[in-house]
């Protein structure tokens, strides 16, 4: 570690905060994906596009209503309804078929949604104004409170989901369907509607994360791609269908990536420090290591 000894510890602390904030957003995207996969065996390729549409709808509602919070709620509900409609029209007919067909169908949906957004909203990125502009001092940097708020809100939404699954009446239905689809059906649980509901919840969570993250990045039609790829990595690393695992993996991957941004600057190849842009490979490395040593996922208690 000698070569890394002169890394200032305040930079490490700042990157820790950054890593946790992006990790929480990623966790919000990934937990929707995991929820849908765990219950329906559907790999939702269109998840990134729901994230993107959420951000766009948020931007449009923000302009008309003037309130970020109204935009957040309206966008979440609209995309959740849209998710329900998509599930009923395209995924329900595929119930009981090879899960691979659902990848194909949702891939088709993602193409349609992405191109529609490009056509309707145009190629110029849009912006969402953050609802709070306060800042605080973190060592020598001024750090926006909004980023902290994102992490807290994401945690609150995920916590709410957990409580709903654990104690809510419909939450119990969802867990029962996950455990045994046929037994749940026999007990009188309307399994097809549970699937629709779960897809709607997942879509709503994707939209909410899109609106929350909107102020930090420009909103364009292709923004879903990066996020859905990262979310896929996190979902595989955390163990497919394992909610806690994907949240832990989100934070792990984001923290490692944040640290890597500093570390690569201290690695010299031919007298030149490596570019911080190389840190984007970190999630891939985590994935490769996971597949090599624990292909069922890092945070699964007992591999099947």
């Amino acid at each position: 570690m000698g070569m890394f000894a002169d890394i200032p510890w305040d930079i490490i602390a700042i990157q820790t905060v950054n890593g946790i904030v992006t990790g929480m957003i990623l966790a919000l995207v990934a937990s929707g994906l995991t929820l849908i996969f765990g219950i329906m065996d559907v790999v939702n390729f269109a998840h990134g596009e729901l994230f993107m549409l959420g951000a766009y709808i948020g931007a449009v509602v923000l302009v008309t209503s003037g309130s970020f919070w109204v935009a957040l709620v309206v966008s979440t509900l609209t995309v959740a309804l849209m998710g329900a409609a998509l599930q009923v029209t395209t995924l329900r007919p595929l119930l009981g078929r090879d899960p691979l067909t659902t990848i194909l169908a949702t891939f088709g949906i993602s193409l349609v949604l992405q191109n529609y957004a490009l056509w309707h909203f145009g190629p110029v990125p849009r912006k969402i104004q953050e609802p709070i502009t306060g800042q605080f001092e973190l060592f020598y940097l001024v750090y926006p409170w909004y980023r902290v708020l994102i992490a807290v809100l994401s945690a609150a939404i995920i916590g709410g989901l957990y409580l709903f699954l654990k104690y809510g009446r419909y939450g119990v239905w969802i867990r029962a369907t996950t455990q045994d689809r046929f037994m749940a059906q026999a007990m009188g649980i309307p399994v097809p509607w549970v699937h629709t509901g779960v897809f709607a919840i997942g879509a709503g969570m994707a939209a909410a994360s899109g609106v929350l993250f909107g102020p930090l990045i420009g909103i364009n039609h292709a923004m879903g791609l990066d996020w859905v790829l990262k979310a896929f990595i996190v979902v595989v690393v955390g163990g497919m269908g394992n909610l806690g695992g994907s949240i832990a993996a989100s934070i792990l991957v984001s923290l490692l990536e944040a640290y890597a941004v500093i570390l690569v600057g201290y690695i010299y190849v031919g007298g030149q420090p490596l570019s911080p842009a190389l840190a984007v490979v970190v999630p891939f490395i985590v994935l490769i290591v996971t597949l090599l040593f624990r292909p069922t996922g890092l945070f699964v208690p007992t591999p099947k």
Binding site: I103, W119, L287, L292
Partner: protein, 333 residues
């Protein structure tokens, strides 16, 4: 040989001969644009056919074929830029070597997973190559890509002639036809039978005693090699390499070609590519026309992928066997 299989062989090879004959004559009668268009269909068709070995015959959906295609493209580009004068055979060799390397890397890790997990991990692995090509600007030209010149047909130093758009079409046709015959032979070989038995019942195949993991790795490499060959042909055709050809959207289109045309038929994916690309040409002419006819200017830029995406979703739901699915058994006899 029984009379029925003899009749099957006669009809099959007659049909094959007619289609090849039509494709040989086509560049002589088609105008330049459509000549290039037909060549491009053959190249994308080869890429789709290579992926059919996995999707249709082994039951593994690859969402990472853009990586093999892209590395074939960049490998050919490297040979054409570094070796003077540009050498056709060296370009093929470089392209195949790079795509085989990529295929080995992806196969080694991704075949540890099955079904959906395999599909997702191939997608993620292909993205590693995209990121590498995008960021290593000094070698790959990064976002701007690479421009290079077309090699000449023949043996350098002995006898060479420059490619015309006709002779390039015939060259591509010869490569694609040979690839089809090789792949068809492979699917009917004992090796191909094991792949199909993995598709039907992996656990039983393993129980019988076949080393399934090794068969899968070889299948991915075989598929990747032919995808790389498609990339090399694309380099000759367009003389341009860009990171966009490595992006997973290409892999997605490859899967679409397969589903549209019919998986497990080898020719189906080529038909699927032809259908998709023709629809794209048609729709991108239709919308500007409709826009001026209905007087809605905004409609002119309506993306062709929206109606094509809807057609694709409908096919997945209602016609999962694809356009040639009805002839699947017949074509594989």
């Amino acid at each position: 040989m029984s009379p029925s299989s003899k009749r099957h062989a006669t009809i099959y090879w007659t049909g094959f001969g007619i289609i090849i004959a039509l494709l040989i004559v086509a560049p002589l009668v088609l105008p330049e644009f459509w000549r290039r268009f037909l060549t491009e269909i053959l190249i994308w068709g080869l890429l789709a056919m290579s992926s059919d070995i996995l999707i249709g015959y082994t039951g593994m959906v690859s969402f990472g074929h853009s990586a093999f295609f892209g590395l074939g493209l960049y490998g050919a580009a490297a040979a054409l830029l570094m070796v003077k004068p540009p050498n056709l055979w060296l370009a093929i060799l470089y392209g195949l070597a790079l795509s085989a390397g990529a295929a080995l890397f992806v196969a080694y890790f991704a075949t540890r997973l099955r079904d959906i997990y395999f599909a997702i991990s191939t997608l993620i692995f292909s993205q590693i190559f995209y990121v590498a090509i995008f960021t290593l600007t000094e070698i790959t030209g990064g976002e701007n890509g690479l421009n290079f010149s077309r090699p000449q047909l023949g043996i350098p130093g002995v006898y060479t002639i420059p490619f015309t758009s006709e002779s390039l079409h015939w060259f591509v046709l010869a490569v694609v036809t040979a690839s089809y015959l090789i792949l068809r032979r492979i699917t009917q070989s004992p090796f191909g039978m094991v792949l199909q038995s993995i598709r039907e019942n992996e656990a039983r195949t393993r129980a019988i005693g076949y080393p399934v993991a090794r068969y899968k790795i070889v299948a991915v490499m075989l598929s990747g090699l032919f995808a790389g060959l498609a990339g090399v042909l694309y380099a000759f055709q367009n003389r341009f390499a860009a990171p966009d050809f490595v992006l997973f959207l290409i892999s997605g289109e490859v899967v679409i070609f397969n589903v549209l045309g019919g998986i497990g038929t080898l020719v189906g994916p080529i038909l699927g590519a032809a259908f998709f690309l023709t629809m794209r040409e048609f729709l991108s002419r239709l919308f500007p026309y409709l826009a001026s006819y209905l007087n809605i200017p905004h409609l002119a830029e309506f993306p062709y992928l929206i109606p094509l995406g809807v057609v694709f979703i409908l096919m997945v739901i209602f016609l999962p066997q694809g356009l040639l699915g009805f002839a699947r058994r017949w074509l594989n006899r």
